[in-house]
Symmetry: C2
Subunit: 303 residues, 2 copies
């Protein structure tokens, strides 16, 4: 099973006077789901013939590191993670940490400034032993990762008027926008930032989006819809939240029954609701909320 | 969407020389999934015409309380939870606690010995106000809850030789065994205890199983397969674990990619693997691992 469920949410649709459907990538069945599963699956498929060691980086509670490490373990590859932070930043039973430990991955804890150098050193170390090494970009942030989302758009059964998603480092957002282009749809794709502010936020998405549409369709920047990146729900940065945001997320959980967390999907859902009201979106519009996971980040939220 | 995914796990099947499939009730899409979703859905459907307040009980990190509270909120009902323990027993960002708070349910924290009396008092309070009250048994432990699992067996596409599951208070186990009887299958249903020891463990399952098969099929105890309840993986009690158990669960996570936690599904999976070896189960046997949820309990595990 490699696709995710898609279904309509009639109760919330009535409240918002639109037709709301949800794409549940948080329910992708392997490796605890979420957008990092799609990305890493695509990235792993592109590996060369000889792979012994997979290196990647992330935070101590990184969803990407969890997926990459478990995927490597299932293939029988060694995984070496470069995580910024210290083991003391999390409890071993915290969601992602537990599964990272489960994978048996080797972990080097470093300061954020030491990531690149550490990866380079580790890579040399394994190459010198004659081993095949692949380095996966942090967060799966890459053209391949974005392509996984471009292809995922094919799982939607009909053209929506809007797609909303949590937009972080940008490859998911870029991929979905490219997928909409690929299908010749007029769908408006709106990324709700969970960390960055504009203009940097939109630029980060564009740094993947423009090369992708150039590579896939030979299109230039001017020939494609612009990236829409809303930065009103950042709440001070990655994993930060306010009491008002929590209250609104909790209200949304009750009306939808969805697992919305304060780090990713909760910010995106609240941003979507406001966007629909603020832009006076036409009644009956077909709207998709693309849930990209993040439940395991509940524990890593900060006031 | 009201059913859960079912698919085969080829990698682990090869390792165990059987044909292993997994039924993913942890991926039931509403209210964060798990067996409590099926049970409460069935229980809520049987409510009388006039319901204003729903009362139930559980621990501070109860999966059942989370589902019951969110389901009530979505219906627009008030929910009053009687939880044994104190708010200090968990952090508000712990999985189930976060979603219980999201529901807006009123919570009375009591000692375990005060549950029954507190529920009776609360019920009287609301009845005296002229409100319609329904009391849901703790854990959804009831004939209706078990019937939900009896019906769920109809979602399996073919007759397996074995079904394994985490067996707790017993309604899930009783329901699956009754569902196997209903289909006229010879499938062996094996519950791996996550808390209780025999003989009490098996008896608790039987207290739901025998009345259910009597009510549904007019069958007596002697006419039905016995309950198989394995208590070798309790590890000292509910939510307790040992380093060896954790190591084995983590190994299973790597080979399957499944979210196995030390409280429920991890104990059950490890117990299944040993059972298959110990009983020299025939090569090629069709085995189903029924994953009944519990990821949010990671945080409430104890050494």
């Amino acid at each position: 099973m490699s696709y995710s469920p898609y279904y309509s949410l009639p109760m919330i649709s009535e409240e918002l006077r639109i037709s709301l459907s949800v794409k549940r990538d948080d329910l992708l069945p392997d490796f605890l789901g979420g957008n990092k599963v799609r990305k890493n699956r695509a990235i792993f498929e592109n590996f060369g013939n000889k792979v012994d060691v997979i290196i990647t980086n992330g935070g101590v509670e990184s969803n990407h590191a969890r997926v990459c490490a478990l995927m490597a373990a299932q293939r029988g590859n060694k995984c070496h993670l470069v995580l910024h932070g210290t083991p003391e930043d999390s409890n071993f039973l915290n969601g992602n940490r537990f599964f990272i430990e489960a994978s048996g991955a080797q972990v080097s804890y470093v300061a954020a400034t030491e990531i690149a150098e550490t990866i380079a050193n580790i890579k040399s170390h394994y190459l010198n032993k004659g081993l095949g090494v692949e380095v996966v970009p942090g967060g799966g942030h890459s053209i391949e990762g974005a392509k996984a989302y471009m292809n995922a758009v094919n799982e939607l059964p009909e053209e929506p008027d809007y797609i909303f998603l949590a937009s972080g480092t940008g490859a998911t957002h870029a991929g979905i926008q490219a997928g909409v282009v690929a299908r010749g749809w007029r769908t408006k794709v709106v990324g709700i930032s969970i960390a960055r502010l504009n203009p940097r936020g939109a630029e980060a998405v564009e740094e993947v989006y423009y090369p992708l549409i150039q590579q896939e369709f030979g299109l230039t920047k001017e020939q494609c819809p612009a990236i829409e990146f809303v930065d009103d729900y950042v709440c001070g940065g990655y994993s930060k939240y306010s009491p008002v945001l929590i209250e609104r997320i909790q209200k949304a959980i009750c009306s939808t029954g969805l697992p919305l967390d304060p780090v990713y999907s909760g910010k995106a859902f609240v941003g979507m609701v406001d966007y629909l009201k603020k832009h006076q979106v036409q009644g009956g519009s077909r709207v998709v909320f693309w849930h990209t996971g993040g439940l395991l980040n509940l524990q890593s939220s900060k006031t």
